[in-house]
Assembly symmetry: C2
Homo-oligomer: 342 residues x 2
């Protein structure tokens, strides 16, 4: 499975980056940073940014994207007892004696796209595979025995302005990808997404949701009924991952294309920057992946914080978004009361 | 003590706000929001911001300040057993039975000033008094018995560009205020400040430091020798607080004045916005007050996040600040290796 996942995410990364590059042929290409982790593993960060020209605050280029990152990382190492203990609550098959470390393998693709146009929503997606094996025994040939494995991931949309038909398209595309593998997946993961991307201190969601799931494996799952049709074997779950992974481009790129060249004013830009402030608040205060990364001493900080927008704005008691009749207020209403879109 | 602290911080707030308003007579005045806390207490948030004109991203006004808040809050209520247990490590006089709540009182002034000019540093200061009393006994007249009390606070400077003589002036002014109350205070609290305002994931301090202290009372203090001259009684410590509180204006305002009208380019502005990104990272990821506030259900979120700058910027692998010979690199060097300034 390791090799298959690795091959799949490498391919998906290349496909997404090409798609984004083809969309805007005069824009600079993505920067590709391959990296190697001393403790084991490798990765490729593909990042889009427009470096400001000398003596300027921001670039003068009117590109479709403002900042974007599509990362792949494949790392392995030893998991300390404290981390094992935490994981056991969802994966009872992991042996735990309170003092031993266990080998782990983690491979994932993670992306965040912040377009320049305030009508084009920000999008995030992440698909990952995690595996824990027995400690290798000296003299033993062959791969070590897998004691636990699971897949996780999801994809969610964060618009500054609400366009209902686009949100429906995004959700419908993801739902269709899910439905091939069982009808309970989309409703469960849609709900999980609304719960996960919640900014407690603002009492609103980060965006209009999508999918979020974790710990998907052959064991019982806390968010899925036990007697339904759903992917259970490694092959079945990997096939589900490929369906939702492959749904990324059709779910998002049409929305990006439709809005990339819309006319907008500084008023729209101001609201977009305020919403990006909320994006920063969620990622730095709540996002598990980001907070885990910030605490990891050997982590590649530039890759972790690549999810942050190029610019963000904070206003004390802003008047934007307050009136329920305004275009900004329409978005806020949906963030306060998540809706069903399909 | 409650009334004396309250009167002092109210006066200091008014003085600081007036000083800032007088500095820039054509700028809009601070907005003054008085608030009342349902569960007990009141406050006054004084906030400076330039609302963008209709159809603009930012205000066109070239004011000295870009965003600033000077807040006073005086709150009281009941402290749950979990909070009491945590506080007991530094205040052994608090009675603890694992199930009772105790009345608390907290009064403080807190300010953050983000000037517009990239050569004018951001500054933060906070002085506060905390008191825990016995639960009131029915029929008992008079104030309840104080079982624990302490003062905390500090002030620190966050420049985007290093001006050594200004940093020395800031530290010297605070040191002189401290030295009147004991020679060990400044070195201990300067060191504490460098340790507290440390952005672990960036391996750099937020700024060039100043003072940071907490739990100052008549009991033993973990960061101060027991046999030295230092303020110990409530009167002595309150007098120390007034000295450092009163040092705020002379420590900072001359620096602000000297830089408010300096010429700068978009290059300097870009670096300032990147540094403000780091300010956001520290406040949302590490700052105890902010994180405590975000977790408090009834907290006034607009007052807590008032400390965030109006705009901030993130660049992937930015080239600014990398070269040690650049003006930006000179600052980074000091943030990586905090210096003695006096």
């Amino acid at each position: 499975m390791r090799q298959r996942v690795e091959k799949y995410i490498d391919g998906l990364q290349e496909q997404i980056v090409s798609e984004l590059e083809n969309l805007d042929e005069t824009a600079p290409k993505f920067r590709r940073d391959a990296w190697i982790r001393q403790q084991g593993g490798r990765g490729l960060s593909c990042v889009f940014a427009c470096s400001p020209e000398s003596g300027r605050t921001t670039s003068s280029l009117e590109t479709v994207l403002e900042k974007a990152g599509v990362n792949v990382s494949v790392v392995h190492g030893m998991l300390p007892p404290s981390a094992i203990r935490e994981m056991r609550s969802d994966h009872s098959s992991i042996p735990y004696d309170g003092k031993s470390s266990l080998p782990f393998f983690a491979a994932g693709i993670s992306l965040v796209i912040h377009p320049r146009n305030p009508f084009a929503p920000t999008v995030h997606a992440n698909y990952r595979y995690f595996e824990i094996t027995e400690s290798p025994v000296e003299g033993d040939e062959g791969p070590p025995k897998v004691v636990a494995w699971w897949f996780g991931g999801g994809s969610d949309l964060t618009p500054s302005y609400l366009n209902e038909s686009e949100v429906k398209h995004f959700h419908r595309t993801l739902k269709e990808a899910c439905d091939q593998h069982g009808s309970e997946l989309y409703p469960a993961f849609k709900k999980w997404c609304d719960e996960y991307f919640y900014i407690v201190h603002r009492q609103e969601t980060r965006g209009v949701g999508g999918l979020f799931f974790d710990d998907l494996c052959c064991e019982k799952h806390t968010r899925l009924s036990d007697d339904i049709t759903r992917p259970r074997t490694p092959d079945e779950i990997f096939s589900f991952i490929q369906s939702v992974g492959n749904a990324f481009i059709p779910s998002y790129i049409p929305i990006l294309k439709a809005n990339a060249v819309r006319r907008y004013t500084e008023h729209h830009r101001r609201w977009q920057l305020l919403r990006r402030g909320r994006y920063v608040e969620f990622n730095l205060v709540y996002d598990r992946g980001t907070r885990f990364g910030l605490k990891t001493p050997s982590a590649r900080i530039e890759s972790i914080l690549m999810s942050l927008p190029e610019t963000a704005r904070w206003e004390y008691m802003s008047d934007l978004g307050v009136s329920e009749e305004s275009e900004e207020g329409l978005l806020v209403k949906v963030l306060k009361e998540p809706r069903e879109w399909v």
